[in-house]
Symmetry: C2
Subunit: 284 residues, 2 copies
């Protein structure tokens, strides 16, 4: 048996096409494009690369992109002023803050002050609360992209046993809540889980989001299971490595998302879709 | 084998004693007692009984209790004014809103507007977000009381397989997040779960919070497991019935919380403890 691939690039392409059409309609109706701001504090090269990539995608979709940079030396006072300014700016409908913030900046400033209506990567306390309570709100793009990848491949989640490895605020926990909202029976595993392999083997849908290349091996996968890989650890050559040992798991799983070209390919498209949705709600 | 009882009344008594000492210290230091407001909209007899019970417990602990009533006919406008008034009132440190709110009142008014610093039953969006993100905040009293009951009986959660039945915003989901924070491997089950008995039998710690009397039977319990019962369904005689079939499960489980006298006995004590903690933070 060989797994079918969960093709993130194809899903992203389809989402971007939909978003571009929506952006065109928004712009025709409101006389200006949806505005997306990225906020990069400091000069981390990986974050700078990601910012350019988001900017290119936003412009390709017809959005207005603002590339906001912040000197971390200004501290939380400057961060607060920047966040408050973006929250108040009616030409900006979505804000993406590159994480992690360098010292001495506090994530709490963003989590508590960014207007949740513009929180297109779902990192505010308000967005997390709405997701936890099942209320409408903006959801972190990476886990939402994973769910989208499953849906676009016709994979049903209701009643399925889903196992999530990793309990980060940005992938593991929101992913568990999204799977729960799709009526999966959800188990959250982490470094303290006993007999991780046995827990993983129960999964109809196995989601790995821990950042340990090759952690998930074939013996941890139920034959025919759906395996979503959220790992994106760069190796020495700069190539992304997933959490799943692709070569062996590919022989066991029913569906498998590759790295690169899997879940991480969908993230930016979902950020744009979240921005379009946010813009449409803000002008409604 | 016969289960040891998880005695909610004893735990509540111990918590109330600690709280009373803390209230005395607060009052000596600040010249006035911590203030707790209950807000009851409408005239549901169960809620009215619960309000009186909270008020008695608050006064017994030395707190100042305000019994706020609201005519639902005033709608969300009146609810908003009441919530904003309590949020602004410096003599009130904790606010408990009796749920469910009768029509036409919206829970969203409370969830979005009540000052999270005073949200001693953890029902606001901000409190839910903080719990989900692992930030300090106030946590719903019933699930927090369940964790407290385990801890006071020396039951270790790190690495344990915990299974939660029920995904309500007030018990199931916050309980899952609390168990996760204690480093349990957590599975959330619900009406769409396939083979519920098999999932439950995996549990080292089984938590039932669904409101279906007698749902959990002995065949669903691993011998020696810890079983926490959050069910409080009144029968025709007005007696509370738990989700666990006590007679049979008692022969299989290692620990079992009775109903009444289990988790529900701890809730009010935790509400008072949350209020004391909120008061201490508000004057800090």
């Amino acid at each position: 048996m060989t797994a079918q691939l969960l093709d993130g690039r194809a899903a992203a392409e389809a989402i971007r096409t939909d978003v571009a059409a929506g952006v065109q309609a928004f712009t025709a109706s409101h006389g200006s494009a949806p505005g997306l701001a990225t906020l990069l504090a400091g000069d981390d090269p990986g974050s700078a690369w990601y910012v350019r990539s988001i900017g290119r995608a936003a412009k390709a979709a017809g959005m207005a992109w603002r590339d906001v940079r912040l000197d971390p030396a200004g501290g939380d006072t400057a961060l607060r002023a920047t966040i408050d300014g973006l929250s108040a700016d009616t030409t900006i409908h979505g804000v993406i803050v590159l994480l992690p913030l360098p010292a001495p900046l506090s994530l709490g400033v963003v989590a508590e002050r960014l207007d949740p209506a513009k929180d297109v990567d779902g990192i505010t306390t308000a967005s997390a609360g709405r997701l936890a309570l099942g209320q409408p709100g903006l959801v972190p793009a990476t886990p939402l992209g994973g769910i989208e990848l499953l849906k676009r491949n016709g994979i049903s989640l209701a009643g399925a046993e889903a196992v999530v490895l990793g309990r980060s605020n940005i992938v593991g926990k929101p992913l568990a809540l999204l799977l729960l909202a799709e009526h999966a029976t959800v188990t959250l595993c982490h470094t303290r889980t006993r007999d991780l392999a046995a827990v993983c083997r129960r999964a109809d849908v196995l989601c790995a989001a821990v950042g340990r290349p090759g952690l998930v091996t074939a013996d941890m996968v139920k034959p025919g299971a759906v395996v979503l890989d959220f790992g994106t650890t760069p190796n020495d050559a700069g190539k992304l490595r997933g959490d799943v040992d692709f070569e062996t798991v590919h022989e066991v799983a029913g569906w498998l998302s590759p790295v690169p070209g899997g879940t991480e390919s969908v993230t930016t498209a979902i950020l744009l879709r979240n921005t379009l949705e946010a813009a449409n709600r803000q002008v409604a």
